[in-house]
């Protein structure tokens, strides 16, 4: 690739420092690369070169097709592309594209808590995303635990559930457990009532609010939040013990 400012060929050590001691008995002329090899060994080098060239081209082709929009080739060979790219070369570079997210999606939770005196109390709604936002405010190094954990767990939940909140496939049930474990952990950490008792059930909802458009744009959007309320989930004893610490 031309964009490189390579050393001139044949002078790999061309540096301002003193000449390297190592080359002292190296004869002049080409001694390295394929030129230094006898024909028999050159075959080996040629094979290696061909193999690496093929693998590089195939790999880049596969990765390109995996990030490209659906097209004729991906429709015909989608399976092969997936098998090559997943799991270790998976990638998603649609960063803030095609459109940046224009809504604040907050995950909120309330719980039925069994208190030490035997009574059951329902807590108020706790806005976990607002807590995350507060933790991020003024931070030069926001932790993945506040920036990604809940946000991506909710994304995962939404993409693996239908509009009726029923799980789709194995990942749907994984995402449900994951989200429940996060909210229970967070309730034990940050909710005063939950801290005192044992959480028995939780109800999770998302509240989606439009980001107010900039003053200079003259656009108008609704500022009332839209809720998506999930059914009450019973918390398993394992989760209720707050194994997460």
């Amino acid at each position: 690739m031309d964009a490189y400012d390579e050393e001139p060929a044949g002078d790999p050590a061309g540096s301002p420092g003193p000449p390297p001691v190592v080359g002292v008995d190296a004869p002049a002329g080409p001694r390295t690369g394929v030129a230094a090899l006898s024909p028999r060994y050159q075959v080996g080098a040629a094979l290696a070169l061909a193999l690496v060239a093929v693998v590089v081209c195939v790999h880049l082709g596969m990765v390109f097709l995996s990030v490209a929009p659906a097209n004729t080739v991906t429709r015909q060979h989608g399976k092969a592309i997936e098998e090559w790219v997943y799991p270790e070369f998976e990638q998603n570079w649609k960063l803030f594209a095609p459109n940046p997210l224009q809504q604040n999606i907050a995950v909120q939770v309330r719980a039925d808590v069994l208190m030490p005196d035997g009574s059951t109390t329902t807590t108020g709604w706790n806005d976990l995303s607002v807590q995350d936002g507060r933790a991020i405010d003024g931070s030069l190094l926001p932790s993945h635990t506040v920036q990604n954990e809940l946000r991506r767990a909710w994304d995962f939940f939404v993409t693996t559930h239908g509009a009726d909140n029923r799980p789709i496939g194995m990942r749907g049930s994984l995402s449900e457990q994951y989200l429940r474990r996060i909210v229970v952990m967070r309730m034990y950490e940050q909710d005063a009532t939950s801290e005192k008792g044992t959480i028995q059930r939780v109800e999770v909802r998302s509240s989606t609010t439009n980001v107010p458009p900039p003053d200079w744009s003259g656009e108008k959007v609704s500022d009332t939040p839209v809720y998506r309320v999930l059914p009450w989930w019973t918390v398993t004893s394992d989760e209720a013990n707050g194994s997460v610490r």
Partner: protein, 402 residues
């Protein structure tokens, strides 16, 4: 026709005779190792919650997902707390060692195992920065990333000086490291706990076997030919990997740019305003308001971002334009690090970008760093390290002075 043949033979000579871009490779190595090291240290208080056996993404959940997608992670070998702590420590250690360039081939494999193990253990904790690191940690294994600015380079220089003086050079650490790695790999294979998938275990075994072959050939080969062949193969692998790293960086920008072009917000020039006002990406709301106060400025930045991202891969054909865009993108990432609260994503992107930095600039940077270090350590001025030439590798073992 003969011109084509000449071109081809020169290209072949070029990719087989040396590992290209020693400074670029070194800076990529240092960049990613530093990113991961800083990330691990920053998340040290949260390590259990992110990747531990009792975190919200529990051991059982991770087992069920990796059984389905065959992602590699050493962390599902055991759900013990101690095992996890040891793994986390090894991940920290391997990134520190890769940073200083100690036994780079072995540590780059360890680094990759650390990155993949933690990230694949809790895949939903990551973001774009983790994704870049994930890919690059695999590609780095194929590179000769310790040619300059590394303890490896220093060791090679010392060894060749010693040989020039006729002193024997013995390496005990290398074989010991190889033996330990072999024991761990063997134990993992025998107990069937290879970590999932076939690619990463195969890569580890191949590197391990390659190291043995390298050593054996250096020791017992009667002619220098096998030794040179291995050297040529290592160069070919390195050059292939560097090309993939560059292509990957281009792909990131191309994808990000071309998809943005299709978005209405990027078209109407308001896109940059929105991420600045998302709760999860606005650590400095007042700063975000200030930056987005002027509609024309927001539009210029919005259009500029798309143009730079789309144009970057094409500017590689012109050194000067490429350097200008590179500076622009690194600056933008530095701004993103603070304004959107994405420091590790930005660091990873800057590390990936730096594969395109010009050698002259990197040399100057190295000179400053060396002077700074010497001033701190009150040492005498020393010459810059020079890239390990192929001879430096091959010479000693065929017996200098024999």
């Amino acid at each position: 026709m003969s011109r084509l043949a000449l071109c081809l033979s020169r290209a072949i000579a070029r990719v087989t005779e040396s590992a290209l871009g020693p400074y670029q490779t070194a800076v990529v190595r240092i960049g990613f190792a530093a990113t991961w090291l800083l990330f691990l240290l920053r998340e040290y208080p949260h390590r259990q919650e992110l990747y531990g056996p009792d975190g919200p993404w529990s051991f059982g959940l991770a087992q069920r997902l990796t059984a389905d997608n065959h992602a590699f992670t050493a962390l599902l070998v055991s759900d013990g707390r101690v095992f996890f702590e040891v793994c986390y420590f090894l991940a920290v250690l391997s990134s520190a060692l890769l940073l200083v360039g100690w036994r780079t081939r072995a540590t780059s494999v360890l680094f990759m195992v650390g990155v993949l193990s933690l990230q694949n253990r809790s895949v939903f904790m990551g973001d774009g920065g983790d994704n870049v690191l994930h890919l690059m940690s695999v590609y780095l294994v194929f590179t000769r990333c310790g040619q300059v600015w590394s303890l490896d380079a220093r060791r090679a220089a010392r060894a060749s000086t010693a040989r020039a003086l006729g002193e024997p050079v013995r390496d005990r650490v290398g074989p010991a490291l190889w033996a330990v790695c072999g024991l761990v790999l063997g134990a993992a294979a025998l107990t069937g706990r290879t970590g999932g998938g076939w690619l990463i275990p195969a890569l580890m075994w191949a590197t391990w076997a390659g190291a043995a072959l390298w050593w054996a050939v250096g020791r017992w080969a009667r002619t220098p030919q096998p030794r040179i062949l291995l050297d040529v193969i290592a160069d070919i692998l390195h050059n292939g990997a560097i090309f993939v790293i560059m292509a990957e960086a281009c792909l990131i920008y191309a994808t990000a740019g071309w998809y943005k072009i299709q978005g209405s917000r990027w078209q109407d020039g308001t896109a940059v305003y929105y991420p600045l006002h998302l709760d999860y990406f606005s650590p400095w709301p007042a700063l975000a308001d200030l930056l987005s106060a002027n509609g024309t400025m927001v539009m210029l930045v919005t259009y500029g971002t798309v143009m730079v991202q789309v144009a970057f891969p094409f500017t590689l054909f012109n050194r000067r334009v490429k350097n200008v865009l590179l500076a622009a993108m690194m600056t933008e990432h530095a701004v993103i690090a603070v304004v959107l609260g994405l420091p590790f994503f930005s660091l990873a992107m800057i590390a990936a970008d730096s594969v395109f930095l010009p050698t002259s600039f990197l040399r100057r940077l190295g000179g400053w760093a060396a002077r700074g270090r010497d001033r701190v350590l009150r040492r005498e001025d020393r010459p810059l390290p020079v890239p390990r030439s192929p001879e430096a590798d091959e010479q000693p073992r065929v017996g200098f002075g024999a």
